[in-house]
Every structure is written in structure tokens, then in C-alpha cells.
């Protein structure tokens, strides 16, 4: 299995976001059945399109640069939220998914996140990405013969 390493890296990178998609789609079903006034469809644009694409490209970038940088995969993955979070927040604001208030930000019209909680959430996202990339994406890379 020595051919198409970048294709395999892309597939390994998109694995986790692809697994999360059916979970997100259940929110759409709940919204349609229960008629919950939450803009789920707009909220799904980012995780259904941008996130899998960036995860795949990010893993390809790691494969491409690893021989020069020797950066561990976990650290490489932990850098991704630095790109994803501003992009996701910008798109969510444009689509009306994220509303910026005086004391907090409101996600999906229901989840109130105080400003004081944004920094810990950002650090938690870095930690979560670090663990997912180190263990799950790393496992997939080894399984597909690119790590």
C-alpha cells in the first residue's frame, strides 16, 4: 500500500467529522419533528462542509511537512482550532447562528456562553483536538500506512 498517500491522509483526516455528522443530523430530525425554532440547518453548514474538508487537508499537510518539521501529530492537530474557531464563529455570525450580546454570546439561540467561559472553552478545544489527533487520527494514519 504505497500509492496515493495523500488520498489516504485525506480520508483518515475526514474520518472523525464524518462520524459526527449523523449525530448532528439527528438535531435536524428533532427540529423537524418537534418544530423547535432553532436554526439547525444553518448551523450544520460549517460542520458538514468546512470541518471535514479542513481536517482532511490538515492531515495531508502533516504528511507533507512531517519529514521537515517532525511535529507530533497531536500538536499539529491542536493548531487546527486556531483556524477553525475564528472561521466557524464568523460564519455562524453571518448565518445568525451566533449572536454576540453584552454579557455573553448565544449559540443556536439557546446556548448562552459567558465571555469568561470562552477562553476555557478554547483551551478545552485545543486539548480535545490534541487528544483526537494524537490517538484517533494517529491510529488511522498507522492503519493506512502513512505514519
Amino acid at each position: 500500500m504505497n500509492t496515493h498517500p495523500y488520498l489516504r491522509a485525506y480520508l483518515a483526516g475526514t474520518f472523525i467529522p464524518t462520524l459526527v455528522l449523523p449525530l448532528l443530523l439527528t438535531f435536524v430530525v428533532i427540529r423537524l419533528v418537534e418544530r423547535v425554532p432553532i436554526p439547525v440547518e444553518q448551523a450544520l453548514i460549517f460542520p458538514m462542509t468546512v470541518v471535514p474538508l479542513l481536517w482532511g487537508l490538515w492531515n495531508m499537510l502533516w504528511l507533507c511537512s512531517n519529514e521537515r518539521t517532525h511535529l507530533p501529530l497531536g500538536l499539529h492537530g491542536a493548531v487546527l482550532p486556531l483556524l477553525l474557531m475564528p472561521a466557524g464563529a464568523s460564519l455562524a455570525t453571518c448565518l445568525g447562528v451566533l449572536k454576540i450580546g453584552a454579557d455573553d454570546v448565544v449559540w443556536f439561540q439557546v446556548a448562552h456562553v459567558p465571555y469568561a467561559l470562552i477562553a476555557p472553552m478554547f483551551l478545552a478545544a485545543l486539548a480535545g483536538y490534541y487528544l483526537v489527533w494524537k490517538y484517533i487520527v494517529g491510529f488511522l494514519n498507522r492503519l493506512l500506512g502513512i505514519a
Partner: protein, 79 residues
């Protein structure tokens, strides 16, 4: 190739490869000992090993999610 040449080649081969002194066969079958040594070796970890630092990160992440459940949909948004 006449008989003289054959004898000469035989003689050269015998000089190059001296006979094994003593009993050429091992006193016992070594294969079970090889198997025992293979079984005795600890299995290599399949991937990276779980560290204390990673446990702390996971604990912090779980604690944040437990204390602020409103963060769950936000995290899902970025996955």
C-alpha cells in the same frame, strides 16, 4: 572433467569447509525454547502510549463539559 579434477575439487571443498567437531546435531530440539522466548517478550504497544498529561487534559475537558453543558453543541459545531 576427469577423475583427477573431481578429487581435486573434493579436496579443496574439504579444506574450505572443515568438518564440525563433535556431535553436529544439537542435544535437544531448540524450537520450543525459541517459542518460549517469543512468548515471554512483552507485546509492543500498537501505537502511542497514554500519558498522565493526556489524562489531565481529558479530565479537564470532561470537567468543563460537565460544569457547562451549554458548551456541548459548540464543541459539536467544531467537529
Amino acid at each position: 572433467m576427469n577423475e583427477h579434477h573431481e578429487n581435486r575439487i573434493k579436496q579443496l571443498l574439504q579444506q574450505a569447509m572443515p568438518p564440525v567437531e563433535g556431535d553436529p546435531e544439537p542435544s535437544r530440539d531448540p524450537w520450543p525454547a525459541v517459542l518460549r522466548r517469543i512468548d515471554a517478550q512483552p507485546a509492543k504497544p500498537a501505537g502511542v502510549s497514554w500519558s498522565l498529561f493526556d489524562s489531565a487534559l481529558l479530565a479537564g475537558l470532561v470537567a468543563l463539559v460537565a460544569l457547562f453543558p451549554a458548551s456541548i453543541p459548540v464543541f459539536l459545531y467544531y467537529l
